[in-house]
Amino acid sequence: MYWLRRAWAEIRNDVFVLPSRTLALAWVIGLLLLPAVYSDAYVLRILTMTCIFAIFAASWDLLAGYTGQVNFGHALFFGAGAYTSALLSLKLGLSPWLTLPAGAAVATLFGFVVGYLCLRLRGSYLSLATLAFPLIALGLLFAFPDFSGGELGISGLRRLAATPTGNYYIAAISMLVIVFALWLVADSNFGIVLHAIRDDEVAARASGINTPRYKLAVFGISAAAAGFAGALFAHYLRVAGPSTLEVALSFQVVIWGIFGGVATIYGPVAAVFILYPLTEWLGSFKAFGELRLLIFAVVVLLVLLFMPRGLAPWMRDKAETLCPRCKQRNIFYRKVCRLCGAGLKAHASQSKVAGAQRLVGHQ
């Protein structure tokens, strides 16, 4: 009873004081309880795909948002994971539980290779060079159709679980675990170093940080998460095709990331959870089916024009203010900080300017 009351107090004092934390808690609980309440196969299917893409978007954000290595070819890691797990489970007959980590491992290897090749590049050069890698892989796949299945890809994989609910839980739980792990990484000292590399690599190196090693590490971590997502995707759809390497997928993840707000982890995840079901839902209407991508692009353009830093940071700035003295967040209607008692209103405009300066890459 004591522990229960203690936990309640913790939750009330730490979670319910901020709308963003309340929302995150509600989102986690909702995800976990949904199949018990509403288990329509179509909804579960869309949510499973959403979870898989959420992993993918979060991994892009760690690399592009935090470290400033804006990767235009993130689909390479997704495709590497998908094709590896598909080939291993079909040609060697391994169980899906082994091929998922194997896909992530091979993707990590690709991440190290790409990261090594791109160590000397920065800014737009890096973006454009990374765009090339999945296309090179795609060209090789089409040139050796016996091995890769060519246009059709590798089909006939086994699913991880027999029921839609089982598949949903596998995707949702791995999504929660990976996203929170990425968020922890980004919030640790390691993440602070990544911020430093993005804001000023020369200064970071001058402060004694081995930046190539950090960049390689973050390429590896990000690729591992993306490869895991790719392997899940292949096993869920039971096919690993060339669509996992396409430019469209690489652009899609860039759109999710920037739409949601970079360097936040939760932003891209929120963006996937908004945009993916939205496009699927629009696609289900006959009249809108053909216009789906058009509406998607227009929505993205409008959001950008009105909140250029992305959706999640914009909403967070509206709902919460930063305490000027202790840098803790407060809900927007408070007049004094909940922790240190400093006045909030006078500095609200100042903190907004400080926030707006956090941009991706070097200007």
Binding site: Y125, L135, L138, V254, L294, P308, G361
Partner: protein, 289 residues
């Protein structure tokens, strides 16, 4: 086969040069990575197709009208979509991607996804060194050369060109010297999109027109620009010829080369980047803070 390679490489290289120089110009002046660049090329091809088949205007007139219309559209897009988010580099990127998607979907909606053919502007061909060259390809080459000469003239012999080069060199100082940087950027956008739409118009009779025709040249163009050095016009021209020839050699000599041509071109770009990260003729921009 050697002659085939020589001619195909030259023609493709000319088209790529038109695209790459415009892209490079925009990047140099305004630091905009314009993903929608080849989408304008696609739009120009569609516009040309519509004018030619529906209204019965001549080749020259419909070509000129489509170049003008697409250039106007690009200036409008710049004003409405790109300029408000100019300070946010990532927002500009996603805005241009979204623009390209909007154009692709609009064309898909209006014309459908099927391939549309345009009758050749010039029939017949000539034989040169034992290889037959259709006049259409010669026309592409001539137009590309003329446009490149025009761009060179504008950049190096007019006041606008001086302003463009100054802005590319140092945006802030150009602004301090009293140039309207925003207007210069807009003029650059117009110039570069005009180049892209000229490419779209002359290429349309050779290739087929479809809503996804912007993706393949986009990737090749990016490879060329990175290979030659971002923002360097000379680099873009030479890079375009290199990539044009590499693609031609791959297609004609390697089995399954049509699939591999993109991969080989990109591989060359990656190798050049490894050896010389700023590209062949790239200027090493000092730290931009």
């Amino acid at each position: 086969m050697l002659q085939d390679i020589l001619v195909t490489g030259l023609v493709n290289g000319g088209v790529y040069a038109l695209l790459a120089i415009g892209f490079s110009l925009i990047f140099g002046v305004a630091r905009i990575v314009n993903i929608a660049h080849t989408a304008f090329y696609m739009l120009a091809a569609y516009c040309f197709y519509t004018l030619l088949t529906r209204t019965g205007l001549g080749f020259l007139l419909s070509g000129l009208i489509s170049v003008g219309a697409v250039t106007l559209l690009s200036m409008l897009c710049y004003r409405l979509v790109i300029e408000p988010v100019r300070e946010h580099e990532s927002a500009v990127l996603i805005a241009t991607i979204a623009l390209a998607l909007v154009f692709q979907e609009l064309m898909l909606f209006i014309f459908g996804g099927n391939f549309l053919g345009i009758p050749s502007t010039l029939e017949g061909g000539m034989r040169l060194f034992g290889v037959s060259i259709p006049y259409q390809r010669l026309l592409i080459l001539a137009v590309a050369a003329a446009m490149l000469a025009l761009v060179w003239f504008v950049l190096y012999h007019t006041r606008l060109g001086l302003a463009i080069r100054a802005t590319a060199n140092d945006l802030e100082v150009a602004n301090l010297m009293g140039m309207n940087v925003n207007r210069v950027a807009m003029a650059t956008v117009a110039l570069s999109v005009a180049l892209a739409s000229v490419a779209g118009v002359v290429v349309a009779p050779v290739f087929v027109v479809d809503p996804f025709m912007w993706l393949a040249p986009l990737v090749t163009m990016l490879a060329i620009v990175v290979l030659g050095g971002l923002g360097s016009l000379k680099g873009s021209l030479i890079g375009a010829l290199i990539i044009g020839y590499v693609e031609a050699i791959t297609v004609f000599t390697v089995p399954a080369g049509a699939y591999l041509k993109g991969a080989v071109a990109l591989l060359i770009m990656v190798i050049v980047l490894l050896v010389r990260p700023e590209g062949l003729f790239g200027v090493v921009f000092e730290e931009e803070r």
